[in-house]
Amino acid sequence: MDVLEGICFFIAALLAVGGAAGVVLLRNPFFSVLALVLHLLALATLFLLLHAQFLAAAQIIVYAGAVMVLYLFVAAYVGGGDEPFMPSGPLLTLAPFFAAALFAELAIAALGSGLSAINSEGAKIDPGFGGPAQFGELLLKRFLIPFETASYLLLIAAVGAVVLARRRRGLEHLDEEAGI
């Protein structure tokens, strides 16, 4: 059982890192989006390994489903500005090195931390851990205000997107139509 979990982890981790590298390195934005879908599916597998069943389902349905369709639509609409991973300018050549340095620092920080629990499988958990029942209870009891705030945020973002992507230039025409 433990070996199986390890095999699943390494396959999913490899796919996740490969998908992430594909997003950054591929020339065509369309293929970048497809690489991100692969990455998100691998991440959902990792969530399942961490006993976050509801989050894994939400990840696949909301993220890999809805959000990525939006991305694909815009990538097909705007079209491919084929542009390789070729930094322009002397400062931008430093970007990969900066990222590598940050990874080294983060890895040292995570592995050298005094947390003894980080080298264990984690605390004992109930069978219902990460399930929809626990999620619903937490969202409607302890995290009610963040939950409601999130709904307002989604509403504001939807209205903002409609205003931004209007066919007309701005809101001036709307004012003229209303006779203001």
């Binding site: 989006v33 961490l50 006993h51 940050l102 504001i156």
Partner: protein, 99 residues
């Protein structure tokens, strides 16, 4: 699997996304790399939530997913508006707000 494996994997994904944000010029790919950053954060949150046996971190991850969805909607709206107004789809060209 130890939790530390997940944390290091999350750091690796974060740094890949950071390299993408810093060096790609297509705003669509910059947004995709931002998704990588947010997902790396999500993975770390879920891993620590597993470590403590406490589901609060998973709620945080769900909120991060909501914020990511909002960011995508507004960002893609900006890209479509750029396309409609014949502005080149290139973040280096968007420098009107520079002081």
């Amino acid at each position: 699997m130890d939790v530390s494996w997940y944390i290091v994997l999350s750091a690796l994904i974060f740094c890949t996304g950071l390299a993408g944000v810093l060096s790609r010029r297509n705003p669509l790919v910059v947004l995709l790399s931002l998704e990588l950053l947010l997902n790396a954060g999500n993975l770390a949150l879920v891993a620590f939530s597993r470590m403590w046996g406490n589901a609060d971190g998973q709620i945080f991850a769900l909120v991060v997913m909501v914020v990511a969805a909002c960011e995508v909607v507004v960002g893609l709206g900006v890209i479509v508006a750029m396309y409609r107004n014949r502005i080149p789809i290139d973040v280096d060209e968007m420098s009107e707000l520079r002081g």
